[in-house]
Every structure is written in structure tokens, then in C-alpha cells.
Assembly symmetry: D2
Homo-oligomer: 483 residues x 4
């Protein structure tokens, strides 16, 4: 992904572009060469010589003849062999097939990207934990099906985000620690050209590259690819849910959350050459006269057409990334049906979605961590929105109070009638319950005082296990951190 859309879809990403792929393939070749040397199959020094030559910057993929072979490895191996001393050339690609190099490169790429995503998710989780702790008593209305339901606290919301982020992170850790395995099987998975030495070389290659040694070559068993992909998709799912919540709670009419003044107070990532202070908060608009068409300065969250707007850029960027993930995951899952000893197409169809899935998840994680760190919580607005419900969300609680005395059915009827009347008249539920003689009489006949009704109408008194759940999420997060 280039610079045009890269700030959205590839923020903070390393290792997954052409250069990243090329380096990972070269690393795989170098790891093989060192393994061959350790196994005594190539001259001493050959492994080091190949490793020294395996620098992506020294290779030009345009010379690889990829269109002739359908994958870049034959050309790359040939070019690499040309780069090393004659004595070491025999260590290049020995015993390997193209798929060994590409699949191993996929594992190395996953190792790098998953490591980065784990860190970003840790930051995001840390920010969520802070929000959960700080806002454990910040009451807001809970919303289901996009309708006001019953009160919660924003701390509980953040605790839910935290738990999902930690679950996503744990999955990535598990995949990184158990599922990244070297691929080394030779032409058809038997390592025939290495005779009896194959398994030993494979084990040494795994050790050189910091990868696990699989039971046998996994050329057409793609569960590892699927595991990596789903671990990233899980992270994406956790981030997308948070971003969606932020876009909703940041709607002007709700206004309970907003992104920071630039989550990081950000300025343009790279100032234009020869420009002094372009695009910052203080930079002037372009002043070119004309009858219209003034172009405002580029500030965080600004719109090209509306000076009054502040867009939730980070949340939108997260969604821009995460919403591409399910389709990519489907392609990768569909590609697992690979024929015989190497697939004709299904294997090749993995490379692009696999790369994109890594890039998009990492970008979403960077955006998401920034979003959470900078998130502004408007507690008074939360209180105001709750007050504007006029007590209706507390009807359930009042009903419970009355049920003990009136029986459930009569309590339900009474409160339902009161709620309808409150809605119809635009009155607080309290005023109806305590102000309509008929209802008041029913209550006092039942021995229920106005104070009891008022208490039952108090949101802070109807939060159930909210604190327990926040504590549990924070405790689990702490354990996760220690572990």
C-alpha cells in the first residue's frame, strides 16, 4: 500500500510490502544455508556468506522472471547464488522448493507482524483498563438495538472492550508461540534430494529461524495459515467493535465520547518539502482569491467541505481496515483446499490476502491504540442523556419494587400504564407515579413510600454487578499482563 491511502490502511506497518516479503524470503534462504552448514553439508562459512548476501536492498525483483515461473523464488534463488562466493553457492536453496521459501517467509512475516499487533493491543488494553477504572462510576444509559435500555457505567463498557482486547491478544500469543513452523519439504514433501539428512536440516533450519519444527512438511495442510489469519481476524473484530461504539457515542446528538484533539495531537505525518508549518492548527487556509473554492487547512478530523465538523477519523480508519478482514479471511479459508502435493492456484491466491490481512490488522491496531489513549469521555453529557430518559429505563426496577407487595402481574400493569402515560405526556415517570392520585393511592395502600419509589428510580441504585464485572475484567487483565 502506497502513500496515498497508506496512512489509513497501513499505519505503522512494517514488513508486509514488497521489501518485507523479499527480505523474509531471503531470511528463509539464509536460515537454510546456515542449517546446511551446521549439518556439515556445505563448506564452513557458506551459511554466513549467504546470510550476508541476503539483503533485500541488493535485489531487483524485476529481474526475477516471476511471470515465467509463477512465483519469484526461482529467480530470487538464482540471483542470490550469483551474489555469494562460488564456494557458498551450493548452499543456496539446496533441497528446497519454492514453496518452502515462500511458506517459511509467511511464518517470519507473521512472527514480526503478530509481535507488533500484540504490542499495540497491549497499549489499547492498557488504555481501556484506565478508562474502566476511572469511569467505573460514570453512569450512562446502556443501549440495545440502538435504543436506550437500562443504566450501565462507562467503566463497564470499557471493561467489555478490555476483555475482548485481552482475549484477542492471548490468541495472538498462542499462535505466535505454537503455530509458526518452518516449511521444508523439497519438491514433493519428502526432502528426497537430501537423502537421510533432510529431517536434521529441517530441525536446524527451524532453530536458525526461531520457528517450530512441524511433524512433517505442511505444504498442502494450511491450518497454520488459517490459524494466523483467524488470530488476526479476532484482533480486528475486537477493534472494530470498539470503533463502532465510538462512532455511535460520538454522534452529535449523543456526544458522550469524542476523539482527542488529534488522538496524539497529530500534525501531518510528513511536512511537504520546503514548507514551513503546513497544515498545522495555526496554518492559514490557501489564500488564492477567486470567487470561491477556498481550501481549508488540513487538520485532524476536518472535512473538506464543512468547517464546523470534526470527524471521528481514528474510529473510521479502524473500521476502514477491519471491514475488509472478513472477505480476506474467506479467501484464505477457501484456499485451504489445496491439491495433492502443491496446489495449482489456491496456494498462490493466499499471498495477497494474507499480506493485506496482516497490514490491515496492524494498521487497525495502531489506530485503535491511539484512539483509546486519546479518547475524551464526556461524563456530564452521559448524565444529561440519562436524565433525558425521564426515568423510563428504571421502570423495570420500580416494577420489581412493587412486585413484592402487589404481585408481579399487578405491578407490571401499574408500571406499564404509568410508563405509557409518561411517554404520552412527556412527563418524568416519577411525576406520573407520584402525581396521579389513582397510582399514588395504590402505592400508599401497598405501604410503599414516595421515598422508596424515588430510590427505585435512581439509576445509581440499579447497576447490579457492574462493579463486580469491572473488577473481574481488571483482575483478568492484570493476570494477562503478568503472564
Amino acid at each position: 500500500v502506497g502513500e496515498l491511502f497508506g496512512p489509513v490502511f497501513g499505519r505503522g506497518v512494517v514488513g508486509v510490502g514488497d521489501t518485507g516479503w523479499l527480505q523474509a524470503m531471503l531470511d528463509a534462504e539464509a536460515g537454510l544455508a546456515r542449517a546446511l552448514e551446521r549439518a556439515g553439508l556445505v563448506p564452513a562459512g557458506a551459511g554466513q556468506a549467504v546470510t550476508a548476501a541476503a539483503r533485500a536492498a541488493d535485489f531487483d525483483p524485476a529481474t526475477f522472471g516471476t511471470g515465467l515461473t509463477g512465483n519469484p523464488v526461482p529467480g530470487l534463488a538464482r540471483a542470490l547464488a550469483r551474489q555469494v562466493p562460488a564456494a557458498a553457492a551450493g548452499a543456496v536453496h539446496r533441497g528446497a522448493t519454492s514453496q518452502d521459501i515462500i511458506d517459511t517467509a509467511m511464518m517470519l512475516m507473521a512472527s514480526q507482524v503478530i509481535g507488533a499487533v500484540i504490542q499495540d493491543l497491549a497499549q489499547a488494553a492498557e488504555a481501556s483498563a484506565r478508562l474502566a477504572a476511572r469511569h467505573r462510576d460514570t453512569i450512562m444509559i446502556g443501549r440495545t438495538l440502538l435504543q436506550q435500555a437500562v443504566p450501565v457505567t462507562f467503566g463497564l463498557v470499557a471493561a467489555g472492550w478490555l476483555t475482548a482486547l485481552d482475549e484477542a491478544r492471548a490468541g495472538l500469543v498462542m499462535v505466535r508461540d505454537t503455530r509458526l513452523a518452518v516449511q521444508f519439504g523439497g519438491a514433493a514433501g519428502s526432502l528426497a534430494s537430501l537423502g537421510a539428512d533432510g529431517p536434521r536440516v529441517a530441525a536446524l533450519m527451524a532453530a536458525e529461524l526461531g520457528l517450530a519444527l512441524p511433524v512433517l512438511p505442511w505444504h498442502t495442510d494450511r491450518l497454520r495459515v488459517l490459524d494466523i489469519s483467524t488470530s488476526l481476524a479476532r484482533a480486528s473484530a475486537a477493534l472494530g467493535k470498539i470503533a463502532r461504539d465510538v462512532t455511535l457515542l460520538a454522534q452529535n446528538e449523543i456526544g458522550e465520547l469524542r476523539e482527542g484533539q488529534g488522538p496524539e495531537g497529530r500534525r501531518p505525518e510528513k511536512p511537504p518539502a520546503g514548507s514551513g508549518g503546513y497544515g498545522g492548527a495555526d496554518s492559514p487556509p490557501v489564500r488564492r482569491g477567486g470567487v470561491g473554492g477556498i481550501v481549508p487547512p488540513v487538520r485532524y478530523g476536518s472535512s473538506s467541505a464543512m468547517p464546523n465538523k470534526r470527524n471521528p477519523v481514528a474510529a473510521v480508519a479502524v473500521l476502514a481496515c477491519t471491514r475488509q478482514v472478513p472477505g480476506l479471511l474467506a479467501t484464505l479459508a477457501g484456499s485451504a483446499e489445496q491439491e495433492e502435493q502443491r496446489a495449482a492456484g489456491a496456494w498462490h491466491a493466499e499471498w495477497e490476502p494474507y499480506t493485506a490481512l496482516h497490514r490491515l490488522t496492524q494498521s487497525a491496531a495502531v489506530w485503535g491504540a491511539e484512539l483509546l489513549r486519546g479518547l475524551v469521555v464526556d461524563a456530564p453529557r452521559m448524565a444529561a442523556n440519562l436524565a433525558a430518559t425521564k426515568g423510563l429505563p428504571m421502570a423495570e426496577h420500580v416494577t420489581a419494587l412493587l412486585s413484592g407487595v402487589l404481585g408481579a402481574a399487578r405491578a407490571h400493569d401499574l408500571v406499564a400504564r404509568a410508563s405509557e402515560r409518561a411517554v404520552g405526556a412527556g412527563l418524568p415517570l416519577r411525576d406520573v407515579l407520584l402525581g396521579v392520585p389513582e397510582l399514588e393511592e395504590a402505592l400508599s395502600a401497598a405501604g410503599i413510600s414516595a421515598e422508596q419509589v424515588e430510590a427505585a428510580l435512581e439509576p445509581a441504585g440499579y447497576l447490579g454487578a457492574t462493579q463486580v464485572f469491572i473488577d473481574a475484567a481488571l483482575a483478568a487483565h492484570g493476570g494477562e499482563q503478568d503472564g
Copy 2:
């Protein structure tokens, strides 16, 4: 899925149709009622009363008014409350919201289906292990990009299947053992209506239902749903790869594998009423005269138009199921972006693909286990196909032999020339290498005997780590079985 396509897409499936869903929801309600009783919140006996009433057969979903509420739970809960004694009615659905019941039912369904898939995969793995052991020395040509490559043994192929099946199974076991958790959060995840009793009831409900207790309610954290889905998709991926191999190796022109005479010697699953011996191998075609249009008897693998054909029905059925999985997985991954405290649509959009994913994976597993148990391996045909390659796949091996004496480059040239000549003349590579004076001289000048060349041309001598890999797969499988 009904009886029309059910034998393909729903073989051996239980628990995922309307009745399965209904029973799982009722089980969730019953588990809640028993938990409430154990917590002392409802009268003694209420839990048992609700449990006794919670039989799917006693309910008519058409009466639930699902179209009024958008989900069947309100109507179901109301109907259930009507079925129990008055004293127990208060235990029905207390503290719960619809999503608690449906999500918990999803976990119960997963528990049941995953358990069944684990068993089917175990049978499939066992059959693969037998094939790997029995055919460890059955040489065949390995094929990459659907082209002949170098020799392998069928035992190695089966060992690859086995490893994938065991990986898939291990994933299902892990999900079943760690990720199936009760859902109980009430209206917005705070369990407010149960006051301080909520967490205790949740824990008891989890215990009653054999599910884990989550850190907090996971209404809009769908990673559990995603984990279940991906564990099933992994099983589907492993099965689809095997089925694809079987369809390819069963092609008439290859003929190395075929499905059994009915993998289980199967007859129609349900004989037509009043019919004696319908559809069996000896049953006659329908004899109705006419000038054409005779309809042959329905036998395993028969075609409606071609008496000579035998179709790989089981392998095709596996693929018919597994190829639907990636799209369903994408829908479920996309549905993980759920708004606030309950999603408006994304949650509901899970129910059908989740059900289908369970059903299709289980059906694929049943078909796959049957396919593997009945698989017929034609070792002579494997040998004949290998012989028909006229030694070309051994060129790599001969080159290695010659390299030691001639140097790699000259060896490569010599063998490449010989291979081209062999292809052009339709001769065995051996005859060219040993029958062309120029080449013969080069070999003898290099001190390489005809016997050495012939040995290098022997596929059985070029199997590398095949035995090591088969042993490793069988050992890993043994460990899996013990574990």
C-alpha cells in the same frame, strides 16, 4: 435442512435444526431456573419444574410471535411460564434477556456438535493412520501444480491427511474445553434486576449447563462465536483437502484411489414404503416400456444418465459442504462488529450461518470418515502411473549422482539434454542415458557405472525422509489418542 438435500448437507447431524435450537433455548432457561433455585431466589422445586417442562416437543414455535419481537425468546419464555405450576413461573427467564438465552443456546449447540465432529474426525484420523501405516511403502508419483513431480508413497500422503485431521481435532477440543461460556447479563450486561445476586446466579447457571463462567457477559464481544466458527472451519478445511485429493486421484486416467462399493456398502437410507429391495445392487430398473426414458436403479455412485460411471459421491459430498464454509465464516467474522450493549442486526445475522456452519461441518465429517474408512487404494495402478513417467521424475536424482563427479553445471546440462531427448523420442530416460553413445561415454569417463545410473533411476531409492515423516505423524497421532 430437509430430506431433499439433507443426505448431502446434513448427514448424521443432530441438534442444529429448529428442534435443536428450541431444545437448546429451553435447556438454557432450565439451567437458569435451577441456578435461581440453588441461589435461593425461587422456591424449592422450581428449577426441577421448569426443567421438566422444557421439552421442545411440547412447544409450537408458530405461537411465539417471533415476527413481533424479532427473536423467539419472549414468546418461548411466555409459553414456558404457562407450562409450569404457578409457584415455578417466577423462575422462568428471571433476570435474563433474550440474548442470554440465545447465546447460551449457541454454546450448548456448539458443545453437542463439536463433540460429534471430534468423534468423526477421530474415526477419519484412525482410518488415515491405518492407510499411512499400510501404505508406507506404496510408491506413487507426487504431483505439484497438478503435474507429476517426484516419487512419494501413499503412506506419506495419508500421513499428511492424518496430521491435518489431528490438528483440526485438537483445535475443536481446545475450543470445547475453554471457550464455551454461559451468557447471562440481563438487559444491558449488568444483571441489574438480580441486584447483588447476579454473579452468583451466573456461576451456578454455568455449572448447571456445563459451561465456563466468563469474566463478564459477552453480549457484544463475539470472539467466542468466532472461535467456535473457526474451529469448525479448520475441520472443514482439513476434510476438503482430502476430498479434493480423492476426486483427483480417482479420475479414470489416474485411478489410484476409488471410493468403496458404497464406503459402507450403503443402500438407500430409508426404503420406500411397500417396496421390497428397492435400489439395491440387484434391484431391476423401472420397467415401464416406452421408447426410452428408462430410469436405472439408484445405486451408490451411479449417474442418472451414464450406466458406466461411478461417481466419487462421498468426496463430492464433502466438498459440497466444505465449500460453503468460507462464506459463512466471513458472515460470522463480519458480524463481530456489534453495537453498544446489543447489536441491531449483526447479532441476528449470526444465527443462520452459525447453524449452517455446524451442520455442514458435521456432515462433511461424517462423509469424510466414511470415505476414508472405505477408501480403496490401487497400488498396482500407482506403480503403473509411476512407470509411465519413464524415469523423468528421477532426473533430479541422477543429476545429484553426476554432480559429484562432473560438477553441478555439467551434470545438470547432461541430464537436461537427456530428458529432452527422452521426452522427444518417447523413450525411458534410462534408455537415453545408457543408450546414447555420447552420454554413455561421458558417464563411463566419469567412472559412473550403468548400475549406478539404474540405481539412481529407481524411485524407491529417492524417498528421502518419507519413512521418518510417516513415523512422526503416527507417533503424534498416538500421543493425540492417549492425551
Copy 3:
């Protein structure tokens, strides 16, 4: 889809369940028999005899041995041949292969369902047109990225819905009229068993079934299936966008739209046996006493836990359907890669997603039409929400007014400063512009009167081409209706 979830995912649907499939297959066989008779290849009366016997109710799919052949047609054809007089049996399935019958049935199913969806979309469009006309002047704030932008009218919003619905409908009409073609190719697409009569029979069969005659059999050219699928996916996309808008605009904090008191004032679709008045607005809750657990009556939009809520059931149901469509479409698109003369799996994998796509789109269309017909527009609330923006969305307009006099850059600066001050102080933009001496002076120095500024702040004066666009959409809709 059964009764449990059917009211959500299969509302108003006919022809796509087991019975629908079976009847469509029987219709295909009957059409073939009549074609054979018209071609003089079977005795007079045979076509009629087969047609008379081809009633789904008379067949039991469980007897078809589908699990033996991988598809139900061989068993169905055999059963059909048994049901007709001996003289007509020769007309059953003559010249056909299973795929001819299933593919033709797919076309017949599409014809029926697309016809129904066209009608539902016509109703939805009609309702949208009424909304567009009625609310052409109902001003509301437009929202982009879920943030307030500039004013529009609700009529413009409805005109946008209308245009998409009409585009979706036009696509369905085109597919129905040009892409539904008979499938008749025999065993491998040559119609060999009919000798020289094949093409004539195919043409007659197409005529009998009201389908087009393709250039040649399309067994493994699945573009027709893809065209049907995408035409349905387009309808689903148009409906999903509307439903998403409704859920957003129906949020309590926005409250500009809400679903009707039951869009159709709906009651439970099927009253429970022996129940009088169940579930209606006046029916009592279940009265069973107990300490809690009262289950409220099932009313439209009610929640199982919150008496105060009214859920946007129809909009959620639309989304519950439409969100499953992209994954199904991917499966069908992926299935288009079909091998040789009949696919081993890819063809079979179409049946379920194809069926689901029809069912879900039709259900979404029924829900969507109902939603639009009953939609309640709260114009005062729209005005109030707009007023609450305190003029900020008009900043763009005021800037334009000032630009003519002050130059674009200075105008932009001045308004930007005023807007910031207004946001900071919580004041209307008007009060800042006209109440701050510094700004007031700048304006009067520029010869801009307070009246001019107030006019520029008037939303009704900043609607641009709104009326033109509404007229264009209504005119295009009228043409669509006439056409």
C-alpha cells in the same frame, strides 16, 4: 427455514424450501415430457400424464436415495416414472441428466422469487416516493460519518432510497426477462442420446417452461446463476441501507423516525391454539405469581427485559437478512469455477446459498416494504435537532456570503473564529456573529447587514438542488412505473 426463525428470515417466502425445490424439479421434468411429446418422441398424452403426476405432495424425498447419488434427481425421476402409466414412463427424464433438472429448477425458482421481490420492491419504492413527495420540505440535518453536516430535507433522503430501490428493481426485471434459461444438455452437454432431436426438444422445453433458450447448455458456465444472485444482492443492498438509516434515525437521542405501531399494526401471525386474544395490546401478562420472572405480553417491538423499550423490529429484521447476503454471494461467485463438463462439488455447493439468498432477499423485501409503508416521520423532532446545532452547519453558507466582500480567506478565518467561539461558549453562531463587537464591526464595515447574516443562517435557504433532485427521482420512478 422453520417456524422458529422463519418470521425473521423467511417472511412471506414461497417456493424456496424443500417443497419448493421438489416442485420446481418436477415442473422441469414435466416441461421436458411435454416437449418430448410436442417433438413427437413420446406417445400423445405422455406429457400431460407426467405433468399430472408431478405434484410435490405425492413424493417422499426420504425415498430418493439422495445419499447414494449425491443429488435427489435419480431417485425423483425413478419415483416419477413409477407414478405415471406405462406408456408415459418413457417420457420421464428422457435425454436429461440430473443437472438439467436441478439447474432448470433453479431458474424456475428464480422466476418465482424474483417476481415476488419485484412486487415487494415496487411497494417499497411507492412508499418511498410518497415520503419523498410529502417531506420534500421537511428540513433535517444531513449527517456524514455519523456527524452533523449541512441541512437536507427528509424528502431528499427518501428520494435517495427510492432511486436505489428502483435501480434494484430494474436489475431484477432485466435478469428475469433475459437471463433465465432452460438447462438441457444431457450427460455431457451434447444431448447425444436424443440424436438430431436434441435442440428441438430443448427449444420446446424452454417454451413449455417460459424460459429462454440458451446458445448451448450452460452446465459449467455459471454466469446465469451469478446474475440472479447479484440481482438479489443488489436488492438486499438497497434495503439494508434503508434499514440502517432507520435504526440510526430512530435512536432515542435522535428520534426523527420510528416504526409504526407495528408497521401493519401487527399481531402474532398465528394465534396459539385455544387462545383468545393472545399477545395483543390488551392481553394481560402471564399472571403466575412468584417472586419475579413475570413475562410480559409479546407485542410488536417489545423487549423481553425492558418494558419501556420499543425496538425497531422491522429494520433489524431487514439487516438480519441482508447482512448474510455478501457471504452467500461470495460462495456462489467462488462456485463458478466448475470443472470440465460437470463440477465435483462446486455445483453442489450452490444449492444451499442460492436458496438462502432467494429466501433472505425476499424476506428483507417484505420487511422493508412494511417498514417503509408504516414509517413515522417526526418533523418537529427533525426541526428541533437542527435547531440544536445552533447554526454551526450554516457556517459554510455564511462564509460564502462574506467571501464576496471580504475575500475567501478572510471570510473563512472570520467564520472559523466565530464557530470556535460559539462551540466554546455554547452560543448560537448567530449570537456570536452579531453579538461580538469585533465581528459585528467587520461585517458592517463590509456592508453586510444583520438581516443578510440571519438569512444566510437559515437552513431553508441552503438546500441547493434538493427540490431538483427530488423531482428527478420522482420522475424517474414514474417512468419506471410506466415502463
Copy 4:
């Protein structure tokens, strides 16, 4: 896509990378400026000045601050305004919002790419038509479910490919001619900032850019995007089916098709600097000594490990592209649910899959056209494979012959018994039918001569409507060409 994988996934592609996007956006801005000038809203010459400045090479996307606004347009518009004379700056982006520019750029990109794909498909269709005509009598066995069925001719197979390619092309033409429309709606779709001039400017902008004028701005009506996407997915589906057939028919054991010696006799697309003759057929392998690790020259279809192999590179490349399409299509279909007046995420999530879908389809089309032009048909091998069936596929035909005399049931029995005996003994069906006394007697008793039986066993006599279908496909193709 870079040079590493570009030769596979981006062959022959223009206009869809960063530069392509940037130029398309600049073209949209320039078209708007010219429209504003023609409408008299900006000074004469402003349109030309903006057009002259709108050269992608003059802009550096890294300066756009895309990460601040979430899309590159604000920064791009600002940079463009800086590049033009002061008098023309007012014509930049006037009245537009970011989405107007990006969506219009999407249409311009589609116009360019669809045009290219149409040409490639025309070439592919032309090649298919030649194959259909040339091989109309080249008999081969038809294969269903990957099993031998009845004879067809390769001309019929090619005619099927041709028909699908022409259908795909027709769809692209229709989309190009009717569905590519300008996007111009301003901040929220009302073109408010242009007052009464909006619609006129929109019409002029459409004319300037060669796009249609829509009924109204389609910001959140994504059916056009879906139509473009599905028209590309159709092309991809047609190409993928052909490529799959080629991989299957090119299997060594079948050998009926193979790719050309390089479909275009291709050499590496770009020779390495300073290299003489690298990688060509005559270039030597890398000669670096060592004990192994020789790296063979990179030739078309060569494998890195197996000198004997020739891989179906073009067919695999087509599949590598086409198999990514369904997942991308799903993302685009899912993105059609766009909120209110501009989507928060769903719109942004279109950009990457939309780009990839264009690139991959075009690459597949280039590969596919090349594949078809160079395809080598091995008619003798087709005949040999058919002969190897020993007459079994003709059993259906013999049965038909016998039915007229013996009745269908007895004929079926007799042929079925003979077929089983032939399979069991490995004998030709002919030898069994005419060589077993019992059967011979039955035939002669029925007055059927050996000559009649032999004629019925002749594949060339059992091709049904093959010629009719080939003629129809060629005629339809001719009409398509003329049209």
C-alpha cells in the same frame, strides 16, 4: 502491487495503483473546474489551468496529511490549488466534497480498466472461437464429477468457453455504457454551496468526464460500485473456469492440453542489468560449483526443484487472481450498507478491494488471453484417452439401439451385464458384446447385426447436437463482434 508478485497479480495492469488513483482524482477535479468554467462560475481559463496542473507526477501524496482527514482529497485539493494561478484557485474543488472526487475517480478507473478487460476478453474469445472451429470434430471424452462420461468434441468445450467469455464481455460493455456516472453532491448531497447552479455544473462535469449524469448524487447508494464489481467478477468467473479446465486437461496422465512454449514464447520480462541472455532457453544454469544447490535457469513453466516439470503457469496465474475475487466481492457487497449521507467506514473499506478487483481481473484477463492464444491441443492424446475407455462410455448408446428391439428394461440389463463383465475382465465392451455366446445370441435373435453394434460403439456417431451448439456459439460470437 509491486514487482515481486506483480507479474502474477498485476500483469498488463494500468491505472489502479497509487499513481492511477491520484491521476483519476486529479482528473475529477479538473473535470469539475472545466464544468465550473463552462457554467460561468469561475474565470475563463480556470478550467484549463486546473487541467494543466492536474498531473499526478507533480504531487507527493506523502504531503497530503491523509492520516489527519482519513482520505487524501483535502490535502490533494489544497496542493492542487497551490499549483494553479491565483485566478484559477477558486475553481479547485468548488462545491465538492471529498467523496465526490473519490467516487468520480472510481468511475474513471472503472472506465479505463473495464475497457482494457473488454479487449483482453475479446482476444480470449477470438482464440476460443478459433479453437471451437478448428476442433469441432476433435473427439474427446467428456468428464463429469472428474469421471469419464460420454464423448464430446474439444470444439464443444471451446464453444462453452467462448459463450461464457462473450457473456462476460457483454456485461462489461453494459456496465461501461450505462452505469458509470459522475458523483457530485457536495457536503450532504444537496449541492447547497452552488445554490441553483448545482445541477447544471453536475451535468457539465459529467460531460467533461465522459460519464453519465445520475438521477441524483449516489453517495450512499452503492449499486453502481456493485455493478462494476460484479461485471468484473463475471469476467473472472469465466476465466477461472477455463484455467481450471486447462490445469485438469494438462495433467500428465491426461495430457490433452498444454500451454505453449511460453504462450507467447516468453522470456523474462526485463533482463537484469548487465546480463547477456539471462534466463532464456539457451542460458546456462548458474555455475558455482559446490556440492549441490545448482539453480537452474528461469524458463517458462520451469520448477525450482524439478528439471522435468513444465508447470501450467498461465492457468495457475489466472486462478491465483480469480480465486481472490469472491472475497473481495463480498467486502464490496457488504460495504453497500452505508449510513445516512456518508458512511463511517463502509465507504472507506471499498477502496482497497475495489482496486484489487480491477487489478486482479485485468491480470487474469491478460493471462487468460495469452493462455488461449498459445494453447496446444493434443488431438491424438484425446483419441487415445477415449480409446482407453474401451467403449464403456458408449454403453448408453448401445442400450438405446437394443431398446428398440428388446425393450428398455431388457436392453438395460443386457448392456449393464456386459459392461460389468468388460470392466472385470479389462476387455473392450465390443469384445464382450460380440464375443460372449450368450450375448451374441441375444443380439442375433433380436436381429441386430454386429455391424450395428459396432456402429453404436463408435464415439463419432454419438455426438448429438455438438455441431449445432458449436455453430450457435460461433454465430452468437459473430453477432457479438458485429454489435
